[in-house]
């Protein structure tokens, strides 16, 4: 087998997105207390750095993956902290464990709302300091939404794919998909707001032993 390479790149946002909105954390006095004298958190629709690097973009190989390794034993972690889900966007392989914890000193409920048949919806309470709740999804779904109905501004979006070749862009907009076998692929990037239907922007690419590079530029919604 040829040596695997990494796919790297950067997602750049063109244009100025609409200003983010403050979350109504005071709707729950317990959440409100967490932010007494502190800045109120805002929505995270467009997390952009000074150079236009766009965070929270899910990037994955959409076509061309022939070998699909078993999911890693290491679980992916999602936390509830400050009455928000952290991180906002994450990736998960089908049948890989996802552990959802609650670091807040208050009650949340954890409610994944899949839309793909075979991925199970559930709604479970999670008190402060309770053991993490475990989830696993059988079918690919980009994005699978987690919400909290006690605090209806809390969301996390999970990109679930049936192989390990995915990444989420960081604060500077860069991403890295590691150990991709050489071959021809279609890579797709999906952002929650610029691609609300879940159909992202794609590129055809060839990955060699030295890896490959795929940058994307997308435009913010017109104001």
């Amino acid at each position: 087998m040829a040596t695997a390479g990494d796919i790297t790149g950067k997602i750049t946002l063109k244009g100025k997105p609409a200003p983010e909105k403050q979350l109504p954390v005071a709707n729950d006095p317990f959440c409100g207390k967490l932010f007494a004298g502190k800045p109120i958190p805002t929505t995270r629709f467009y997390v952009v750095d000074a150079n236009g690097g766009l965070a929270d973009v899910f990037v994955y190989l959409k076509e061309g993956v022939t070998s699909k390794p078993a999911p890693p034993a290491e679980p992916v972690k999602l936390d509830q902290k400050g009455c928000e889900y952290l991180p906002y966007v994450l990736g998960l392989q089908t049948k890989q464990k996802l552990l959802v914890s609650n670091s807040d000193p208050l009650l949340h409920n954890v409610h994944p709302t899949p839309t793909v048949a075979g991925n199970k919806e559930s709604n479970r309470a999670q008190a402060a300091n309770q053991a993490p709740l475990e989830y696993m999804f059988d079918n690919p779904e980009v994005f699978l939404r987690f919400k909290c109905d006690v605090h209806p501004w809390m969301f996390a979006y999970v990109g679930v794919v049936d192989h390990p070749y995915f990444a989420v862009s960081g604060k500077d907009g860069t991403y890295k998909i590691a150990n991709v076998p050489p071959g021809d692929y279609v890579i797709e990037m999906v952002h929650r707001k610029t691609h609300p239907s879940g159909k992202g922007t794609t590129q055809k690419m060839k990955v060699g032993p030295d890896g490959a590079k795929a940058d994307f530029t997308i435009e913010a919604a017109a104001q």
Partner: protein, 359 residues
């Protein structure tokens, strides 16, 4: 056991049940407007507690709305049970006794349905739950009407009610049914948790009829930056919203015509014409609240008022409809005497029926 159709306390209790049911629909509207339908994930317990012992310190965020809805629904269930038993013991009209029994089973079914919506995580059950709530408030309101003194005595004395012309009755029937369809459409939109499918009014995305092709839908969704990040809208949801607007216009026309004709045929001083005018005012206010719901970006209090006024409009239509129908009731000697004593005139079958006051 003495049974009499003239039982003022039973009537007052039926009115209390109807008003409480309307309030319950309002609390249900708050639940959906705040996206809190699943804030308590278990049922019939609340976070593992007996529902009635759930500590108030937990009543925060979405839990406050959902748990209050459950407790108030239990209260309405209790009222309905008492009403059904009371009717069964005291009411001479058999069909009305069975209406009470039907209401009892209706409220039980509705409660279980609400619980199943939570445990089965099924949005469509929420729509059915909302539709049955509307039918239920109509039923208990009609029980309140039928137990009213004037109605009971009119039925008992002559076996007939206030009969309006067939054309006017038809307008009332169509108006009421259309309002019910509008309420089901509204419930369908609310329970899809997609927020406002069309964010502007009186135009729709700047046009008389919005574009609904996939590229336009994608563009609409890209511009939706709501704190509560509702589900992306679809062309189907935009279509529903537009039909709801057209339906509102049709309701205004039908109810407006009903108000106009009832005034022309029955006279401006007749109770029925006055109630019909009140019905029209309710529907006009309801249309205004619908517009305000859009313009306020579905502010929870305005959207909830829209739900409550919709239910009140439906009840008013159903009451007017019922008042226009003949009352089939066996007269008892006691109520016949009572009617005479109260000065209700004896009218032969050939006399104008509208002369009876509907009260």
């Amino acid at each position: 056991m003495t049974r009499s159709p003239d039982n003022p306390w039973l009537h007052r209790f039926a009115v209390l049940t109807a008003v409480s049911t309307l309030a319950l629909i309002g609390i249900g509207g708050l639940v959906t407007s705040h996206g809190a339908g699943l804030a308590v994930p278990d049922w019939p317990t609340s976070y593992g507690y007996n529902m009635f012992l759930f500590p108030p310190s937990y009543w925060v965020g979405g839990i406050l709305y959902e748990h209050t809805h459950r407790l108030f629904a239990s209260f309405v269930g209790l009222l309905t049970t008492v009403l059904a038993v009371w009717l069964w013991i005291k009411e001479p009209r058999r069909w009305l006794r069975w209406a009470g029994v039907f209401a009892f089973f209706g409220v039980v079914f509705q409660g279980v349905l609400g619980g199943l919506r939570v445990t089965l995580l099924e949005n469509s059950l929420g729509i059915v739950h909302a539709a049955i709530a509307q039918l239920f408030v109509v039923l208990v309101s009609l029980i309140a009407l039928w137990t009213s003194r004037g109605r009971a005595l009119a039925g008992a004395s002559r076996g007939e009610g206030v009969v309006v012309s067939k054309g006017l009755l038809r307008l009332m029937v169509f108006g009421t049914l259309l309002i019910f369809l509008q309420l089901i459409l509204g419930a369908t939109m609310r329970h899809q948790h997609a927020g406002l499918a069309v964010p502007d009014f009186p135009l729709a995305y700047g046009k008389l009829w919005p574009a609904m092709d996939p590229a336009s839908i994608e563009a609409y969704n890209r511009n939706r930056l709501d704190v509560f990040d509702p589900n992306p809208i679809t062309a189907f949801q935009i279509g529903l919203h537009m039909i709801h607007r057209l339906g509102a216009f049709a309701c205004l026309v039908l109810v407006g015509l009903a108000a106009w004709f009832s005034r022309a045929r029955l006279g401006s001083q007749s109770t029925q014409a006055k109630l019909c005018m009140l019905w029209f005012v309710l529907v006009v206010a309801q249309a205004g609240l619908g517009a305000a719901t859009v313009l306020s970006n579905k502010a929870a209090d305005i959207a909830t008022a829209h739900v409550v006024l919709g239910a009140a409009s439906l009840v008013m239509g159903a009451i007017l409809w019922a008042m226009g129908l003949p009352v089939a009731a066996p007269a008892t000697q006691e109520t016949e005497c009572r009617a005479r004593a109260d000065g209700i005139p004896a009218i032969s079958s050939g006399e104008p029926k509208a002369a009876l006051s509907p009260n």
